[in-house]
């Protein structure tokens, strides 16, 4: 790690920069909210800076060594965003700032206009679409997740990107786009209206396009980038129409106006719940596209074409959370306790259904993936679907006036977003570490690019890495445990809540909810299987290729972010659960109250309600015991003789060998497996439809335009030419003659007019 020590001093100049933030409080007397604009503006300005400076100093050594091709600038600006966020967070938690859920700062008027009413009079009040900031507990939590993870991923990138020769002289583009992407997410979370939420939402779409297509010369990357942009664009267009309807209903898109009283629209009239249903449904379609839910999920696995830090960025910190955030923002419409509108339950059920279907589908596809990143991609999809289900249930409870249950479901969903983001960010970084080291080991063994076909992401080339990469293996173990929902770790605290509430809704109120309830319960077990499978295939058993023997954990900049996130994943869930995160996120209580440890544990494992207790234990058994044991039977196994891994990984690896082995050769050749490997043929189907309808139709229209429409014009031209040989003789093709003709024509008109007048 000598190299490692050598490089960290590069970060020292950043420390005074970060100290600037608290200083602002004393020097300028700035409030933390007044500084909130920095979270967006600093990265926004960093984007052109890195791009232009990087282009100018592209091959310069100082730029490469001292500035890491822009990485240091990027991490600096993200650091400012993070520290301002922390500042706001501290103010919020300490109660210095009393804002009951919301704060708005108006920056400037974006556009303003008058409005013609249906009785053909101009509305005397000028309508304004402004730009401002809105913070409440949901946005603050997501903002913290985004700033924190973006910061760590940027840190990680300096190890991952800058040590790979293929990226040389291109990294400034990476960092610039990275910062812009982060800016999009921060802006979206801070936006004070649905319109600006949408604007930043689209900026993220652009950045995902740029970053997924970072290796633009790769055919697959260029294709994946286009696919991601267009698929999300489909959702975005519906979202946009949803915004138009919302605007029509409320005469504004700002949260302040709409959330004040969502049941009365413009001019105080009662809102038609049918119209609102359509608006929110279209909004939800946008969320489905962005968060990769069925049926617009096809872009997410392909998005793995981008560099691994980008996957971490998209899947954990930013883009996919955007859809969840949008749905979470719908609560005021549903909450009949406070001005919500009754009659929207069907939409809540749709949301829960989409969640349930996606969760199950993604988990089953993840069973057969051999690419380590693809497994993680499908697990992202599946976990996001959990959150959608939870939100759907929460919205359903809100809409049927079960306020307490709604708050728990909502808080659990948001808490799961937090846990998932932390775990998934770390898992992607850890997988990046594995890929990076395997790739290096391979390059070390065989000269780079000797034509030898080797996929460093394929888990069938790994195995037995536990002793070679102890930190990565530990990190990945905790990440997987959090995703699986192993008791006491990360995701357990939130996933339990989602499943329990969904079942509660199904058992006690709405039979339709059985559908998502059963699906997500089954998915819990499946998650246990595929996450264990991934970990075991990578780290346990004997090496499956000779490359593995040469793997070392040596790249700088990678270890620290992993360690930080491991700690948060392992302990964060428990600690936050102690502090009542679920209540906090659902705005149930204004102040934090610490629960006793025993009380919290009792609440989790032995709830009073018998149904909840039963469901809880079924979940634990399925996900923590049955899933991993099955995975161990297929993929488990001890390390090679003589290799030792640190505890507790060594124990896990050894344990995985104790369950016997099971051959799944037969099963993997079945039609179901085939279908799963082909992602249930969704991609093929879409592609088929597009290639058979849209493209031929477009070509036909192009032909039609050239031959028929232009042809008619040409016909008229040639016919008139035939009709008048006189004119034919005049068209000499020389410019001078035509100008002459124009002049003569004009003159004759003059004469004509003059003649008429006279």
């Amino acid at each position: 790690m000598g190299q490692n020590k050598h490089e960290y001093p590069l970060l020292y100049p950043l420390i005074p920069l970060l100290l600037l933030v608290p200083l602002m409080k004393f020097i300028f007397g700035m409030d933390s909210f007044e500084a909130a604009f920095l979270i967006v503006v600093v990265p926004l300005l960093t984007f052109p800076t890195i791009l232009i400076v990087g282009q100018i100093f592209n091959k310069n050594d100082t730029w490469k060594e001292k500035y890491k091709e822009g990485g240091i600038i990027a991490i600096g600006s993200l650091g400012i965003s993070l520290s301002v966020t922390l500042w706001i967070l501290i103010d919020y938690l300490s109660g210095t700032l009393h804002f009951s859920n919301l704060t708005v700062i108006e920056w400037f008027q974006w556009i303003s206009f008058d409005f013609l009413q249906s009785d053909y009079t101009i509305n005397p009040e000028r309508r304004i679409i402004g730009v401002g900031i809105w913070i409440d507990s949901i946005s603050l939590m997501i903002l913290f997740v985004a700033t924190f993870l973006c910061f760590l991923i940027c840190w990680f990138s300096m190890g991952y990107m800058n040590t790979d020769p293929i990226n040389e002289d291109r990294n400034h583009r990476f960092y610039a786009e990275f910062v812009l992407f982060s800016m999009g997410m921060f802006g979206m979370v801070l936006a004070d209206s649905f319109l600006w939420l949408f604007i930043f939402w689209e900026i993220m779409g652009l950045c995902s396009y740029l970053l997924i297509g970072f290796y633009y010369w790769k055919v697959s990357a260029a294709y994946a980038a286009k696919k991601a942009f267009l698929t999300t664009r489909i959702g975005d267009v519906f979202l946009m129409v949803g915004l138009f309807i919302l605007y029509d209903i409320y005469g504004s898109l700002s949260f302040e106006v709409i959330f004040e009283d969502p049941s009365t629209g413009v001019a105080g009239a009662l809102v038609d719940s049918n119209q609102l249903f359509w608006a929110l449904l279209l909004l939800f379609v946008g969320a489905v596209g962005k968060s990769a839910q069925f049926p617009l999920h096809v872009w997410l696995p392909d998005a793995m074409e981008g560099p691994t830090p980008v996957s971490a960025l998209i899947h954990a910190a930013t883009m996919v959370n955007a859809g969840l955030y949008l749905v979470a923002r719908m609560v005021p419409f549903f909450d009949v306790h406070h001005h919500g509108l009754a009659g929207l339950e069907n939409l809540a059920i749709i949301i829960a259904f989409i969640g349930g279907i996606t969760a199950f589908m993604a988990a089953s596809i993840a069973f057969v993936q051999n690419d380590i990143k693809k497994v993680l991609a499908y697990s992202t999809m599946s976990q996001l679907a959990y959150i959608f289900t939870g939100l759907g249930v929460a919205l359903w409870f809100y809409n049927t006036d079960h306020h307490h249950a709604a708050a728990i479901a909502f808080g659990a969903s948001m808490f799961h977003l937090f846990n998932h983001a932390m775990a998934k960010g770390m898992l992607f970084m850890a997988s990046g570490s594995v890929i990076h080291e395997v790739h290096h080991a391979h390059d070390h063994l065989h000269d780079a690019g000797d034509g030898h076909d080797f996929d460093p992401q394929d888990m069938r080339n790994m195995g037995g890495l536990a002793s070679k990469m102890p930190i990565t293996a530990t990190a990945m173990m905790f990440g997987s445990m959090s995703i699986i929902g192993v008791p006491l770790i990360g995701g357990f605290w939130s996933k339990e809540g989602i499943i329990a509430e969904t079942w509660k809704a199904a058992l006690e109120e709405e039979p339709l909810m059985f559908f998502p309830a059963i699906l997500i319960l089954a998915t819990a077990g499946m998650t246990g299987f595929y996450m264990s499978r991934m970990w075991l295939m990578t780290f346990a058993g004997e090496p499956k290729s000779d490359v593995v023997n040469h793997v070392h954990e040596s790249t700088p900049w990678i270890r620290e972010p992993l360690l930080i996130l491991t700690a948060i994943t392992a302990l964060g869930g428990f600690i936050l659960a102690l502090f009542g995160a679920i209540d906090f996120l659902s705005n149930n209580t204004d102040h934090l109250k610490m629960h006793g440890i025993l009380e919290t544990l009792e609440h989790a494992f032995l709830p009073e309600d018998l149904n909840t207790r039963l469901i809880g234990w079924i979940t634990i058994v399925l996900s923590f015991i049955i899933g991993p044991i099955l995975a161990s039977r297929v993929h488990g196994g001890s390390l090679k003789d003589g290799e030792k891994a640190i505890q507790p990984i060594g124990f896990l690896v050894t344990l995985s060998g104790k369950f016997g082995t099971q051959d799944v050769e037969e099963l993997s050749k079945s039609q179901l497996s085939e279908a799963l490997q082909n992602r249930l043929y969704f991609d093929n189907m879409y592609e088929y439809v597009i290639s058979k309808t849209i493209i031929p139709f477009a070509s036909m229209l192009a032909w039609f335009d050239r031959t028929i429409i232009d042809g008619i014009i040409k016909q008229i031209e040639s016919k008139s030419v035939l009709g008048s040989l006189q004119v034919r003789r005049v068209t000499t093709g020389s410019a001078r003659d035509y100008i002459l003709m124009a002049a003569v024509g004009m003159l004759s008109i003059f004469v004509l007019i003059w003649g008429v007048n006279a």
């Binding site: 493209i695 229209l701 192009a702 429409i709 007019i753």
Partner: protein, 549 residues
Amino acid sequence: MGGECLSLDILTIMTITPIFTGIILLLMPQILPKDVATNFEKVTRNISMGIALGILLIATMLFFGTIGSIDWTAIMQGDYVLKNDQFSLISSIGVQWKVGADALSFPMIWLTALLIPISMLVEWDAKRGHLFHPLLLIMEGALLGVFITLDLFMFYVFWELTLIPMFLLILVWGGDDRKYAAMKFFIYTFTASVFMLIGILIMYFHTTPIPGIGSMSGHHFDLVAMTGQTNLIPSEGLRHFVWILLLIGFATKMPSVPVHTWLPDAHVQAPTAGSMLLAGVMLKMGAYGFLRIAVTIFPESTVVFIPLLIFLGMASLVYGAWVCMGQTNLKRMVAYSSVSHMGLIFLGIATMQPLGIAGALFMMFAHGIISPLLFAVAGAFKHHYHTLEIGSMRGIAHHSPYLSGHMMLGWMASLGLPLMAGFVAEVAILIAFWIEFGWLVMLPALTLIITATYYLTSMQKTIFESDDPHQGKLPDSLHGEKPRDITWHENTGMFILGILTILFGIFPFIFWDMMSSWSTGFVSDVLIDAMHNKDKWNSSVKWLVEVLK
């Protein structure tokens, strides 16, 4: 006098100076002795650029109110502040020199003043520059003339005058098939404007005679007086007829489906600067004229024909986008995308909402910045890679990073990405459209997906995707030449356009505010009284609108 006196001639000066300088510069080489004339080329383009920049400076100062002051909503109310001594040009028929500017014309004036120096810059090293740059100057004068004049006769004169430099630009500096394209461009648009002329003449004969105007019959071409005259053409049938005649002239210029086919041919053959001006300003003449003359003078007919406007707008938008997808030539594709975007302007006007009309105005402006960028990029491909075939090259981003960067920015701006100018217009128009016509908005909204598809596909198949990161696939037309990136002057021009696109995307209020207040005034003064004509819609149209809402 004083400030008034100074302001009085600014618009006239802006128009006359480039025309005269252009003509003088064109004639210079003939007059000067031969040894001086050979070195005159560089001097010519410097002078041209100087004049163009001067006019841009004047236009910018006008905007900030440093010189003169413009009342942004004045003209359609029958008065305007930036006025001159109206004097008769051809007194026998009542032609006057009368100019003015408001929020409808001013953004176009500023845009013209901006695009001329930029297109000069992009084609800084054009062959036969001693003719090229002065021609652009003449073009500038003619275009400005269209936007400032308030006399329909002069409007028509300037309208046709713009054709001549453009015709010559295509004919002399165009591509392989330039003769056909130039001919088609000229005859097509000329024919269409004859319809417009007939309409103008009918209007002329219906004007109430003004005694002092100088013409024998007292008829006049004064647009302001025509606007002020209630019920210019009493017969409803004739009124509609005149409106349709005007529409033919303007819709061809815009161009709207089905009279759009001159545009792709003209664009593909035109030199880069020609394309930039054609798409940036000349197409807007159609929309400008439509609002200034047809809608302002015949609001009742406009309201009656709203279904027709929607049909034309939808056809241009949707059909144009689909045709775009089927194109294999980069410039043809961009040309059709102009058709598609111009369709939105009709839709915006058809809403009859201040928001929609302001959106249409902003669309004119935003498209005026974005489409020149697109054509500059396409022109650079032609210039440096000698081909415009999509798919004949791959992985160009490696060889031409700047060109690819500009392409990315322009393409993204044109597909309506937020924080760029086009998005503001799109959102404004579509919100207004939803409010008026309900679910019909799905058609333009879904077209946005098509737009994104063809833009991304064309990008994927030119600048991305190659087997080898360091090579890419170069087009055959390069004949083994080493690929280059764009030159400094192309780069600067595109940079300015790109920055403006983002500037007006983040801070649209710079021009939006005046457009918005103009639209409000326009709706309340001109359109509201005509709104009852919606009753005259065909019953099936009424039914459709009700259902969609």
